[in-house]
Symmetry: C2
Subunit: 345 residues, 2 copies
Amino acid sequence: MTETAPRPTLEAVAARAGVSRATVSRVVNGGDGVREPLVERVRRAVEELGYVPNQAARSLVTKRHDAVAVVIAEPETRVFADPFFALQLRGISKELTAHDSQLVLLLTEGRADHARVGRYLAGGHVDGALVFSLHLDDPLPELVQRAGVPTVFGGRPGWGDGTGSAVYVDSDNRGGAREAVRHLVGLGRRRIAHITGALDQTSAVDRLDGFRDVMVDADPGLVVEGDFTPAGGERAMRELLGRCPDLDAVFAANDLSASGALRVLRDEGRRVPDDVAVIGFDDMLPVAEQTDPPLTTVRQDIEEMGRLMARLLLRGLDRRAEDPGVGGVPSSVVLPTTLVRRASA
Amino acid sequence: MTETAPRPTLEAVAARAGVSRATVSRVVNGGDGVREPLVERVRRAVEELGYVPNQAARSLVTKRHDAVAVVIAEPETRVFADPFFALQLRGISKELTAHDSQLVLLLTEGRADHARVGRYLAGGHVDGALVFSLHLDDPLPELVQRAGVPTVFGGRPGWGDGTGSAVYVDSDNRGGAREAVRHLVGLGRRRIAHITGALDQTSAVDRLDGFRDVMVDADPGLVVEGDFTPAGGERAMRELLGRCPDLDAVFAANDLSASGALRVLRDEGRRVPDDVAVIGFDDMLPVAEQTDPPLTTVRQDIEEMGRLMARLLLRGLDRRAEDPGVGGVPSSVVLPTTLVRRASA
């Protein structure tokens, strides 16, 4: 560890400025009631000594940390393997930086660590939290609520206690899925299969519902559960071909699983889109452009979702600061999706 | 934001347990001097009410947060684009989780945000910091020192004030580079070029020094600056071929830039290794195995470096807790490297 010089104290600043300890404290914490010449002297002493106020103490007074926690309910390996999270973080990072708020990403090895995340959130280290990729039965929503930090969710939480009034940013997953499947129907496809996402997440359930809205009498064998990963898409595609060798289209719950499905179709000698049309979800670049053939997909603006989550949270914090009694609760936002046509369908 | 139920207070716990506020405070903060039956009653009340101690207040007493900050001195876009960082974080995450310490990753848009990172570090939110990928003239080392948090660096800092006694974990960059270049010489190559890393980082400078140790009289035109990215490797390779069309080997400062160099060599019709032998640095998988041809490279154990950084920091914190007067300062560690032979050289 770095050998550190002793940190300048509040007392040292007071001595240097020739004022009382209480005066330094008031100036440092932005309090009023100190005459301008004294404020100037304290500020100069703070600068000369390189004094950094202890925010653990300071935050007890000011209650703002200028920091926002981001919690992704996935193991860190998944966070770095799936570009979805990098994109969402990019939007969050831009927005928080624009407001000079520090992005504090709390990484974990998995769900067993969520109690520790809850403790950190409750510990008075951040002004609020952005929580995304929640799974069914995850204790996080309750831990977050118990921690008492203002929170905006990425994706509709949809389960668990106390999330009934949760504020979230989501895409129109069900509507987007409907549009994808209708497009396949319009192409004359009749044996349309669906590779779902992880069904313990609302985004996967909503896309499955959208599929079913259009394929009301679909053969249940045409729906296979995936997990939003390329490997999951490969597994599901093999199972689908085994069950229903005559399928003529696949709607995959995201682009990564669609890329896995495309690999299996090629290995099995099925031409895309001639024999089997394929549609993904996300419009994740460069993935969706680099598949063979390039992927028709349902676009959602992932970076914008991140930006909006951060914006809603910061706006709520500002309102709360103005009116601590009630606190302004912003509304949830559901963003529209767009079908992007490339070669695969 | 989530509408939160009022958080149970210390007073509520005291009332429920039928003890004084001070007793609850002592139990919650792990203090001694409370009789066992009372401790039991307080614990039960804490559990029943779901009481979470306010750590901002608590940490003023206990001085431990069970959280460690990780600062990567790169914009977040780079953090998610270069698998080096994901690997180092994996090692850090495993080690911290094993000690139930929360990994707090502080992301930024760039160097302009480092003052804010310094404020967070100084704010009493973490027990220590792991800082890596430092660049020359970065204010971070000084900010970290001023923040007064125990710190272990990833890679030798090497510049700036106050880092003379810094504790760091590094690889033997210079020795590894020497071994790579000697291998090329052993293959009979004479016109050996070097694509450097970003020369405002010590790892790049050390690898260049290792190259020069062996190629004492090298044509200066055979050294071109890269930046550790595939695109930088492509640019540098094009420049090298323009300057020295007769080169017969390239040592690139990392695998990502080697992958860029390989693409340019293929585009220009040079056979690897017959016409030009190529060696990288890192043994970054799957990159090093998936290049065409697979890459001979200098292996460093990146995940282990992360694990060691975390271990050194935690050990130092424990020693400091035992003997707050002096604090145990662990020593820096430099890990050996190994040449891994594949098809490219």
